[in-house]
């Protein structure tokens, strides 16, 4: 128990030193750490994909696999607590006063742009900075289920791309993605109060 506690203290220190979300409170970190710990069945301080897949509701979520993948950095199979926190930091609510604190540390992880970038990356699996028609079709198929025909999905996908596409490359780039969602209140939608 003591070991776990001191671990969280060191992690807290690390986080405060290395990351710009230093405004995260101690209680939040401990809460998330205990969650991390409860997910970590192998007790090795890192989560693997199977650990995530054990979460029941995540299995029925259409985007479950992609979300799990988002936690793991490129090519790795294990995520430690730092990576876990880093991914979750995208979902902190946006606070106005944070902008004034750290002008030279770049954009915080939970800014509107970074939130949208996170969502964009969930679409764009091949990381070519574009959502192609196929990628869109895959996502649609996952969200819609098996009852809808391919043609209908195809027409929806075409319509979607046509609406968003401004430079005519038949795919949605990140700037087009941002533009399409400019009326949506992303700051509220993509924030979890838990991390507040």
């Amino acid at each position: 128990m003591i070991v776990v506690l001191s671990r969280s203290m060191t992690i807290l220190l690390l986080l405060k030193v290395f990351f710009c979300f230093s405004a995260v409170s101690h209680s939040q970190i401990t809460r998330l750490y205990s969650r991390f710990h409860s997910l970590d069945k192998g007790e090795n301080g890192a989560l693997s994909r199977e650990d995530f897949q054990r979460i029941p509701e995540l299995a029925i979520n259409p985007l479950g696999d992609r979300i799990i993948n988002a936690f793991f950095p490129e090519g790795e199979d294990q995520v430690n607590f730092r990576g876990f926190m880093r991914t979750l930091a995208h979902f902190r609510p946006v606070e106005d006063n944070e902008k004034n604190k750290d002008p030279n540390s770049g954009e915080p992880l939970n800014s509107r742009n970074n939130k949208l970038l996170f969502a964009f990356r969930l679409y764009d699996l091949d990381r070519d900075d574009k959502i192609s028609r196929d990628e869109l079709l895959q996502v649609l198929r996952m969200m819609v289920g098996v009852n809808i025909s391919d043609e209908q999905l195809g027409s929806i996908a075409d319509r979607t791309i046509q609406e968003a596409d401004t430079n005519g490359d038949m795919s949605i780039s990140f700037s087009e993605f941002i533009k399409v969602l400019e009326k949506v209140d992303v700051e509220q939608k993509m924030s979890i109060r838990f991390l507040h």
């Binding site: 509701e57 985007l63 979750l88 609510p93 195809g154 929806i156 399409v180 009326k183 700051e187 109060r193």
Partner: protein
Amino acid sequence: MTARTRFCGGLLRISRALRTVALSLVTGCVFSVHASFGAVHGDNDTSHSSGHGTHTKTHNTTYPATRAFPVLTVNYDHVRKPFEISLWILLASLMKLGFHYIPRVSSVVPESCVLIVVGLLVGGLIRLLGETLPVLDTQLFFLCLLPPIILDAGYFLPTRPFTENLGTILVFAVVGTVWNSFFIGVVLYGVCQIEGEQLAAVDLLACLLFGSIASAVDPVAVLAVFEEIHINELLHILVFGESLLNDAVTVVLYHLFEEFASEGQVTVVDACLGMVCFFVVAFGGILVGTVFGLVAAVTSRFTAHSRVIEPLFVFLYSYMAYLSAEVFHLSGIMALIACGVVMRPYVEANISHKSYTTVKNVLKMWSSVSETLIFIFLGVSTVAGPHSWNWAFVIITIFLCLISRVMGVVGLTFIINKFRMVKLTGKDQFIVAYGGLRGAIAFSLAFLLPSDHFPMKNMFLTAIITLIFFTVFVQGMTIRPLVDLLAVKKKKQTKFTINEEIHSQFINHMLSGIENVCGHYGHHHWRDKLSRFNKYYVKKWLIAGERSQEPQLISFYNKLELKQALLVAESGSAANIGPGLSSAALLSAQSQKQRTVMKNISKEREEEIRKILRANLQKTRQRLHSYNRHTLVLEEEDEWSTVQLRRQRVELEKRMTHYLTVSASGWDSPPVRRARFQSDSQEYMAKPSAPVSIPAINMELVSAPPGSLALLEEVTDQAQQSQDEGCGMHANSHEEKSMKPNVTFALELEKQKLSRCLSDPGPNKIEVEAEEKEHFLS
């Protein structure tokens, strides 16, 4: 425009407006005067009339022999009530019309103010003429005038922002209203005691009752004013939601204090029972509404064979929900809202599109008329009196209402902001506080007070009316410039894009996944659970047929397409069809090419093309009668017109399916070609047929036995198909040259539709004709 013409134009407009206003006023007054006049004399006529008769003839029983047979008689009493009601509604509607013709007024003054003024004028006129004034009968108000407005609001309530802000709305509605009532009541009591004299008679409970009446934000007034200022969605839903939900509180407090005031004393038990009563009223109302909503949804499942009465079910069930709730003194407004919200997704999935339009338009019409009538009657009732003006009381009331509202909003926001993700700024708080308008509900509740228990009822009434006038006039008129001054965010022009829908759903799924990872049961988690419950259990029972399996995204998409297809049909001109289509991907690349191909055609060519088309079409009609299979020689023109005929028929068939798959957004003509072309090709693509090369077809055509038209038909069909297939095949090669014939072929198909519409057929026609002849006769 010169100053003179502008002056004349303005003068004309003003005179027209004045004429309308004057005419309607006079009509209204004359007839209502006549009505009341007729009432007096009506008694004399009753003895002579019986049964139903027109006013030209009446059945007479016995008549003295000396009297001549009455050719024309007047029996006004007969139709008096409906006549008067219709006249009032007519007056209200004419006012609404006339309002928009007065140029300056409509932009400065909100409609509700003008209507109250009109009511005052009409009331004044009627009083001048010495007749009895119709007062805003409470029963009439609560049972006939209020439900349509609330149903309209509830049915079209934007559920997403409402549920997202539900906590805030509830806090404002419940805690805010209670705070307001108590603050106003207690301080008013204190003032009355200090003031002494006539006010000393007002006891604490009466003051509290008055406080509860005066504190309720009115949905009608809020709607009327906020509709016009187009404020952003969050603020709109906050104020509006508060005005709807505080009905429960108002009902409870009103009945509570009324009971206590007549009893004369209050015990702790009573106070506790009061709190329990609140929960009963609120949740009871919601329960009643939900039950009726579900029954309505189930009923709508079976209406496939009698589509005409579908809207009636929506209205009846909602109204029954309202009345049932009122029977038990539950909150009728909450019942109505709950019914509308519960009913809507299932009913809309079941009823036909026409019924949906009917429901929407009737609700809007009814609520609009109701609102107008309410404001006019408010004006008339003001003139009717009876008034008892007390300077101190009235001024203090207004002052207190403002202060308590501001304090309440600021205090509550401070607490609420700790729990909100998007905080409410000072500007938001100001608008919420300033937008707390009082209206006719307060008036009616005050009117309902039994005057034996409340000797100061008239004073209350006067104070409430003054409060209403103050909030509607002063706050209503100034809120618009204030909104502009403070640069409050306005409502963004929402065009329902499929992008937003898809990405929003995507984000929702993502967020619920993240919440699961965190182990946090938040907003998304519960929403997900609800929608899953809905999908697996509820939809099966409540939605007819296959649509119960349809995912939300698909129904959204279908609705969008249907809406735009109908837009096309209504506008009547094919030129409105835009690029957003349900087309196969393989042709979308082609569309890019076509856009460049079809740009540069001059006007003279267009004229020539149009002339040729019209001529040919006429010839076709002649042909219809005179063809003979033995004379079917493939001349140039004959071939042309028969092919046209063929295509016309095919086009007609495809039209039905087109209107289900074509979507529109208003753009210029080149995309029109593409639209038709793509959807045609899609049709053809579906039919499996071996691709035949063009030269081969030509030979076939020539060698065909000069005979059955059917064969010709088949051949030409095949020709068309292969053309299309050819187009499809060529699409991938992206060759501009091979595009040309395909393009022209498309234009071919286009022509008929366009020429039939007698609209601008667009470019490229002459080339079409030339190429066409080439194809078939080479």
